[in-house]
Amino acid sequence: MFGFTEDMTEKQELVRKFCEDWVYPNLAEIDAGKCCPDYIWEEWCKIPGFASPCAPKFTGGEEMPFATCCAMWEELGKADLGVATGFGSNNLGSFPILLTGTDDQKKEHFGNLLQGKFGAFGLTEKGAGSDAGAVATEAKKEGEYYILNGDKCYITTSGKAIETKSTLAICASTDKSLGSKGLTMFLIPGDTPGLTAVKEEDKMGIRGSQTCELHLENVKLHESRILGGPEKGIGFGFKTAMMTLDAGRCVVAAQANGVAMRAIEMMVEYCNTHLDGGRPLSKNPAATFKIAELEAQTQACRQLVYHTAFMRDAGLNHGHESCCAKIVATENAINATRVAMDIMGVNGIKKGDPSTVDGAVEKLYRDARILSIYEGTNQVQRLVVTNGLFPKKKKK
């Protein structure tokens, strides 16, 4: 891709090779479970820097540019959106720490991740989905400690983070009277008593990514566990969460582009091998024009993702672009799987081997549908874009 740095190209190729060796051949197993098998994750972690691509250098990481992460996750998303989502949770679960964590917190968290443990970002609750400010998990101050009680839902790889005794970024309310301004982000060790993963979700797709409900019962944390420390971190949780999502949404868009690219690849292969009235379907513009249109949209979506990623790497505000990228890329990917179904007919709906054209599209269709829901639904993205276009007038 034009404009890719050497690093982006090199890392994307490494991911491609990894996927060819470990993801594509095992897609049936991945799709049959509720979490990516450990051996695949272990292989991923053997590649230098991959366990936690954004880990700062002083923690022992490679501190890869964000654009490189997007290039990697596009390739991973192409192979399997579930694996991409699960492995990506190490980025999502790390952005809050990168944004507001103290150096000690960074050392602790990235130390865990670089050993091959999982991170997790715990914001959503049953009553706080799109309305993230409504987080009800309470953190009550008792001397130098906080006692956390509440429940979280849909937290990616949180069960793994607990199982591997890693560190989780969890949002809780330290002052209910302040609403979203009373939210605070905590860095919680996975083995803290009272923190449990109570349920593993059974999802339509992205089955390579673990999604859990968490229960927090009298989870006792020293105030030093507040991200950024008690001085700076109190009441900064919502802001941290929103800034985390600025980055996360762009990665979701990159993964979505991978999904669209895979759908296009499968359609091309199908059209080359499938006969339609005695001729390959690739000679029928009714099919090929549909694919060409998707290719055009996907190329445009990729440009927007990398444009956004370069903005972030340059230290520019990119929340608006991230939302725009998420809207167009995710809806394009979902549409690509729909069109693939149309073109492939019964061969599209077939539950075959997902690593081949014989079963890939059935799985892609189920996987892709998550894209306009998580990390803020696409209605919420439109809300953010709207707020950018129609800014509230500041009171004088």
């Binding site: 309305d131 979700e201 029928n284 019964v346 599209g348 709906i349």
Partner: protein, 336 residues
């Protein structure tokens, strides 16, 4: 009560009592609910009087259990087409339909004539009611032209074809090895187009039933799901999604009605069906996709039926002809 209302009530009551309870778990596990099909047959829902009745049944069943609705669609459409072509060929039980082939739309399965009898050899994929029907309508090449035959189920080896959605509705790959066959129509292309058209018309009603359910569950959810201090139903963005589902239900019936009328009046209906299919496959996709979206994370969970509607919507119209059939047919008709 009019006759139509009576049939509708009977179908709705039956669906609520017998089909809704077996709609969730069996679909998840791809289990064929044979008892439900037997009950449908016993009540006469698998061989109704005409396409108008079949449409009523399809819609009511579609509300409760799309897999079983599709069983009724195929059974009724095949029974009607046999009646229309050669009533003497009709036998008891359900008739399935085998048209698709590996690597091509159709053409590789061949028929051979031996005296007055025929045999069929080759493999069909994703045959409708595969493994469950008593006999199949099979499209096979006879002297380089497609013809339609009837083959007894016992003369075909069936291997289950599992799929994205409608997983309780049975489909199978069928292998014929010089299977004895009875000729139903020499012009297999015409029969195929007409049978597909009838299936597509009825599928519009299954889809209308599905859209009705999607509208009900989405409305209920939107009224009760609170975010930002109020039910999400108060949000214009959610209201738009809801309205589109209701419009889809309306559209599905509106586009199919002229095709039903054409069949009932004994007029040609293939183009009407093609137009209906073109609009319907998009409409039901949008309706079920909106339903997922309104439910947020809940819509993606296999604990609830919402994700099932999304899978079913794309399976429904992928059951019949190749993808550009509606457009190609309609344009050919305009240009003739």
């Amino acid at each position: 009560m009019s006759e139509k209302s009576l049939i509708q009530k009977a179908a709705a009551d039956f669906a609520a009592a017998e089909l809704a309870p077996v709609s969730f778990v069996p679909e998840k596990t791809a289990e064929y609910t044979e008892d439900a099909v037997k009950a449908m047959a016993a009540k006469g829902f698998l061989k109704v009087a005409d396409i108008e009745e079949a449409a009523i049944v399809a819609e009511e069943f579609g509300k409760a259990n799309a897999s079983m609705a599709e069983v009724a669609v195929i059974a009724n459409a095949t029974a009607e087409i046999i009646d229309a072509y050669d009533a003497s060929k009709a036998i008891d039980g359900m008739t399935g339909y085998a048209v698709y082939e590996e690597g091509t739309s159709c053409g590789g399965v061949t028929a051979a004539k031996a005296g007055d009898a025929y045999t069929i050899t080759g493999k069909k994929i994703a045959a409708a009611l595969g493994g469950a029907a008593d006999q199949y309508i099979v499209i096979a090449t006879l002297e380089e032209k497609p013809a339609a035959f009837i083959v007894k189920a016992a003369d075909a080896a069936a291997e289950k074809f599992d799929k994205l959605g409608l997983r309780s509705y049975p489909t199978a790959n069928l292998t014929f090895d010089a299977a004895p066959a009875v000729l139903l129509a020499e012009d297999g292309a015409k029969l195929r187009a007409e049978l597909n058209a009838r299936i597509d018309i009825l599928n519009c009603y299954v889809a209308a039933g599905m859209a009705n359910t999607a509208a009900d569950v989405s409305t209920e959810y939107a009224k009760t799901r609170v975010q930002f201090g109020a039910p999400i139903a108060k949000l214009p963005a959610v209201q738009f999604l809801l309205a589109e589902i209701s419009i889809a239900e309306y559209t599905l019936k509106a586009v199919a009605a002229p095709a039903v009328e054409a069949v009932m009046a004994g007029k040609s209906y293939v183009i009407e069906a093609a137009k209906a299919k073109y609009v319907a496959s998009k409409a039901i996709y949008d309706a079920t996709s909106n339903c997922v979206q309104i439910h947020g994370g809940t819509g993606y969970s296999r604990e609830y039926p919402i994700e099932r509607y999304y899978r079913e919507s794309k399976t429904l119209f992928n059951n019949t002809d190749y993808f550009d059939w509606p457009e190609a047919r309609i344009a050919a008709d305009m240009l003739k």
